[in-house]
């Protein structure tokens, strides 16, 4: 059964005629999480967030990302998702570090733009 599935997957890959590509939905989801993470990091950098809220919401965003990561085939989108995940984890760990939040905001914004380009 597994062998048949593998053959079928290979066949579909050959028929598509190219390496695995990110579906627009996956790229949009990664982009959405990154953009929201950037917004959250911006609030932390401005000193306008609450530590508990930042931690809980960054973790919730990371969990949402995890649900997409398991189905991503495109290695480019996979790398972007890994960067977003790492930034969100950092934000969740240090919810009161304004300087680091500023860096994370930029990193997440760049990742969001990259995911957006893949979605297009």
């Amino acid at each position: 059964m597994r062998r048949r599935l593998a053959v079928l997957s290979l066949f579909l890959l050959l028929v598509s005629g190219c390496a695995p590509e990110a579906t627009p939905d996956q790229a949009e989801e990664v982009g959405s999480v990154a953009a929201e993470g950037a917004l959250l990091a911006h609030e932390v950098a401005e000193g306008e967030s609450l530590g508990a809220f930042t931690t809980v919401h960054a973790q919730a965003l990371a969990e949402r990302l995890d649900r997409v990561v398991v189905v991503i085939d495109d290695p480019r989108l996979g790398r972007i998702a890994t960067r977003v995940d790492a930034a969100l984890e950092e934000l969740a760990r240090a919810p009161d570090d304004r300087r680091r939040a500023l860096l994370l905001e930029r990193r997440l914004a760049r990742a969001g733009e990259a995911a957006g380009q893949l979605a297009r």
Binding site: E36, L39, E43, E48, A52, F53, V56, H57, A60
Partner: protein, 408 residues
């Protein structure tokens, strides 16, 4: 002066008590997905709840009978039982979603573990229902829910394109995926007209011993209270449309909704949004737990009412306790409360015609209503909404499947 003050307080409570987890989830998600395009659907939903809340409040004031009394009599025992089972299942799902929503909002505010906060929410709700007088419950949760007015300020501060906002009030077929658009139309109408609101409203009117002299209060509560409550829904959608849509952010987390208030207003906006959500959703949990107990007691002819002590209405008391425990058990399984909310709203839409048809029939019955029978305007609105509800009830589940719960 005292009576005007009383009316004003009732209206304030109605505004704060209008929004529940279904409104929050659907309005924010609709704004993030379609911007302002679906504002008209909120207006339709709010018009529907005003029409039928006024009608069932009038029936309660004149005939001293609440919704499930009339459902059993008008639909007969068998169809009435079907309506009861559907209503109880929807109430239970709604209650589970509200308990989960309270715990999620508490977690965003405190950072404590979700499951511990679910237990805290359950204990808190039982304590409030057991100890607090009916009028206090209504007012405390209604007034504190007014913190959600922060979304009105947020919507203005986010500087939406007001021309686009105005265009959103004109019904359109929408852009993008038709199934997703249809799903949100159904969800927004369903969230505004969720049945527990009328079960609670009419039973509350009987509990507070409304009489025909209170019909002005009933009309003011329904028309002004729900209209201004609808303003909260509209502002949530406008704020989400202004902030989230241009950035391509989906609004399927409760924290995202809070972020909509935090971004333009900072920490104070965040705190007000979370406090408003906690109280508004707790109020809705109380309403839906009571609604379940009211329905069962009215259908089987048990003693019921918050004004009776627990020992004076033991089956009623046991029913709301059981409803809370079952709702708690559903969310303790780990199921996502936001998913439960969406499913509960869509299934409540299916049950809506069974709730609203008997109200319309009784409100037209001269034997019950005497000079307070429906006028032409009330009947025109009542019939229009019954047709709307029949259409959305048929379309709800197919759209939920076709749109993959609005995900496309």
């Amino acid at each position: 002066v005292k009576s005007v003050f009383g009316v004003a307080l009732g209206i304030l409570a109605a505004i704060g008590g209008f929004v529940d987890i279904g409104d929050i989830v659907f309005n924010a998600a609709a704004g993030a997905t379609f911007g302002y395009e679906l504002l008209w659907a909120v207006v339709i939903g709010v018009g529907g709840i005003i029409t039928y809340a006024e009608m069932c409040g009038r029936v309660a004031a004149v005939s001293e009978r609440a919704v499930f009394d009339t459902i059993r009599e008008r639909l007969g025992a068998n169809i009435g039982l079907v309506a009861l089972v559907a209503a109880q299942l929807v109430n239970l799902l709604t209650l589970a979603a509200e308990i989960g929503g309270v715990a999620l909002a508490l977690q965003l505010l405190s950072g404590l573990p979700y499951r511990a906060l679910l237990s805290l929410a359950l204990v808190g709700l039982i304590a409030v229902l057991w100890l607090m007088p009916f009028s206090w419950i209504e007012r405390v949760f209604g007034y504190m829910g007014l913190s959600l007015l922060v979304f009105v300020v947020a919507a203005v501060k986010l500087h939406p394109d007001w021309g686009e906002v105005a265009r959103g009030f004109v019904p359109s077929t929408g852009t993008g995926d038709a199934a997703v658009y249809g799903y949100f139309v159904v969800g927004l109408i369903g969230a505004a007209m969720v049945p527990y609101e009328v079960y609670f409203y009419s039973s509350g009117a009987v509990e507070e011993r409304w009489r025909p002299k209170d019909l002005g209060l009933n009309r003011a509560n329904a028309v002004i209270g729900y209209t201004l409550g609808g303003l909260l829904s509209l502002s949530l959608m406008i704020a989400a449309g202004a902030l989230l849509l241009p950035k391509g952010i989906n609004a399927d987390l409760l924290g995202t909704v809070a972020l909509v208030a935090q971004t333009p207003l900072g920490q104070i906006g965040l705190v007000l949004a979370l406090v408003g959500i906690i109280f508004a959703v707790s109020g809705a949990a109380i309403d839906s737990a009571f609604a379940g107990a009211y329905n069962l007691a009215q259908f089987f002819g048990w003693e019921w009412g918050k004004y009776r002590r627990p020992a004076g209405a033991p089956q009623f008391t046991l029913t709301w306790l059981a409803m809370l425990l079952l709702g708690f058990a559903v969310v303790m399984t780990g199921v996502d409360p936001i998913l439960v909310t969406e499913v509960s709203v869509i299934f409540s839409v299916v049950a809506l015609p069974l709730t609203y048809l008997p109200i319309l029939l009784v409100a037209n019955d001269r034997a019950y209503m005497g000079p307070h029978t429906n006028g032409r305007l009330a009947n025109a609105f009542g019939c229009f909404y019954l047709v709307v509800l029949a259409v959305v009830a048929v379309a709800a589940v197919p759209l939920m499947i076709a749109s993959n719960l609005g995900q496309g």
